[in-house]
């Protein structure tokens, strides 16, 4: 619990790191209706595509400097020589970023979805999809950022972007499932299944990558 509290303290003071991606998401969702005609049916056509891409980009921005500062100031070295698990730290960092960025974005997703579709049931179904997908994207981009720790975050994002594409496909299909009232829960479980694998493997892989960088 102590490690979570300390990561919270750090991220709370780095307002730009967590508020920036949330604002970018908000701006993208605000900008979307301006690019199409204000007829509700037309807004709905592309809304969910924009929503998932906005979540993806926001998560990419959120992870931009997730390890860079700790790498540059020697914090990672201090952690490495301690006996505590490196992968636990990675998991806690991802969780903290998700709480600060992923959850607000998911709440905004629900609000924008309800505002656009005026369908409460549909918007309530969007919320868990946003929650799970934001956590998956965050994990993937964290891995990318660890790979390109001292080479700039764009390279890392490019490496991990293809891994996010299947998730985007599942999200797209789940909207169709909701609209046709078929097997929505199946898609939720599919995403949860992906998340359960990612949540275990990414911290392990990232901890090895960071150790290699430190060496």
């Amino acid at each position: 619990m102590k490690i979570i509290r300390l990561e919270f303290l750090k991220l709370k003071k780095k307002t730009r790191t967590w508020l920036g991606p949330v604002l970018v998401f908000w701006l993208m969702m605000i900008a979307y209706p301006l690019t199409v005609e204000f007829l509700q049916e037309k807004l709905e056509v592309g809304f969910f595509s924009v929503l998932w891409i906005a979540i993806l980009i926001s998560m990419m921005l959120a992870t931009e400097d997730i390890f860079l500062e700790d790498f540059n100031d020697g914090t990672l070295e201090q952690i490495m020589i301690k006996t505590s698990s490196f992968s636990t730290l990675v998991s806690v960092k991802i969780l903290t970023y998700w709480i600060f960025v992923g959850i607000p974005i998911s709440i905004l997703s629900f609000i924008f979805s309800f505002g656009t579709t005026e369908d409460l049931a549909l918007s309530l179904m969007i919320f868990p999809l946003s929650i799970i997908s934001s956590y998956i994207f965050l994990n993937l981009f964290v891995m990318g950022n660890a790979l390109s720790l001292n080479k700039g975050s764009v390279l890392g994002a490019l490496v991990t972007m293809p891994l996010a594409l299947p998730v985007l496909i599942v999200l797209g299909k789940s909207i169709i499932a909701i609209q046709l009232s078929i097997n929505y829960l199946g898609f939720i479980f599919l995403l949860l299944g992906c998340l359960s694998i990612i949540i275990v493997t990414v911290p392990l892989v990232v901890s090895y990558i960071i150790k290699a960088h430190l060496e």
Partner: protein, 191 residues
Amino acid sequence: MNNNYLIVAENIGYKINENKLFHNLSFDVAEGEALHICGDNGSGKSTLIRIILGITKQTKGNIKNNSSHGITYLGHKNAIKNYLTLEDNILLMELNDKEELNKYIEILNLRKYMDVIAANLSFGQQKKLALLRIFLNNSDLIILDEPFVGLDIETQDILSEFLNNQLKMNKSIIYTSHISCQIESKILKIN
């Protein structure tokens, strides 16, 4: 003679590409002993420290770390968060002995800076802050890379006295320094 060796290194070598930084270094550090690693700039002192810490892997030889209570380390990077106050930085260090902590905050004259953002502190003050990690250590091996750099004479004396006391408490110290200090040490010269 003390045979409880915390660090035993045999024929340690390290090379970057084909350039040998150092080779066939053998040394040991027993309980209550200090090892002063000397050498010119770029001779590989910091790399050797990182090898002892287990961060960097040597390209040749073996090194055994027998410390049972972990290592306390202060290197060139002092793990200070520039955007946090001095008080928050202390919180991040997870220093449990509040009484000792308050004692060293007073000794190092840091009390008046508790609410100051670390970025606004001088290099020396940041170094003092980082030294708290050393002063409140619970480990049996202390490793320091140029610990006296940036410190005023008074703080250098406080640190030297502290390290000498640690040696009396049977703790071991490995350090690099270009500044002469009053610590009775074995010397390992890297060319």
